[in-house]
């Protein structure tokens, strides 16, 4: 389940289960969103993106859902693996503001054996 840690919300899942990571974004004018994965000691790594004219986009083992009504993004990871353990950030880009991304606070995903 989810819990609020000292710094980051943490989601613990069993290996093989599906994971759902949520993100509330701040600006209704944001038109492009990205999910990043950050492993310890590394820079954020692109996972999947979605534009505001879409509700859903699928990649390999990952799906991003966008609900503009409530300004909510979710990242679903199918058949979670130990290598998925990391901190996940959503980033939003403000419409007509070039490529200026604002990052959310992040969620730590821990995959249990």
């Amino acid at each position: 389940g989810e819990s609020v840690g000292l710094h980051l919300p943490t989601l613990s899942v069993q290996e093989g289960d599906n994971s759902i990571i949520n993100c509330a974004y701040s600006n209704s004018a944001s038109d492009y969103f990205i999910w990043y994965k950050q492993e310890s000691g590394k820079g954020p790594q692109f996972i999947i993106d979605i534009r505001s004219n879409m509700d859903k986009r699928q990649g390999q083992r990952v799906t991003v859902l966008l609900n503009k009504t409530v300004k909510h993004l979710s990242l679903q990871i199918a058949a979670t693996q130990p290598g998925d353990s990391a901190v996940y950030f959503c980033a939003e880009n403000l419409e007509n503001y070039g490529q200026n991304f604002v990052f959310g606070p992040g969620t730590r995903l821990s995959v249990l054996p």
Partner: protein, 118 residues
């Protein structure tokens, strides 16, 4: 394709000293970003360059932080004098384009430079 290169990876200094970080973006990427990531938080944009011009530096503490991107390629970020609260990872990122992003308009990040101010 080579990724975004940053150096140094780690730096420890005392408060009031100065430090500089260097970034070489992916070849051909017009836009370069410096982000500050404090432990347990998401990256926060400090400055964004498009080629060698500044697009956004609204969150850069200009009394102590400076950045430049001469010739529109690599970039340096300097802090002088450093404060304890500057302890963070400084991430450089680059992206291909300008204007409204489309699919594939993501930022590519370097490994970061971890600064500890004592």
């Amino acid at each position: 394709e080579a990724g975004v290169a940053q150096s140094p990876r780690y730096k420890i200094i005392e408060k009031r000293q100065s430090v500089a970080f260097w970034c070489n973006p992916i070849s051909g990427h017009a836009t370069l970003y410096w982000y500050q990531q404090i432990l347990g938080q998401g990256p926060k944009l400090l400055i964004q360059f498009q080629n060698n011009g500044v697009v956004d530096d609204s969150q850069l503490p200009k009394d102590r932080f400076s950045a430049e991107r001469l010739k529109g390629v690599d970039s340096t970020l300097k802090i002088q004098p450093a404060k304890l609260e500057d302890s963070a990872v400084y991430l450089c990122a680059s992206s291909l384009g300008t204007g409204t992003p489309s699919f594939g308009g993501e930022l590519f990040f370097g490994e970061g430079s971890r600064l500890t101010v004592l």
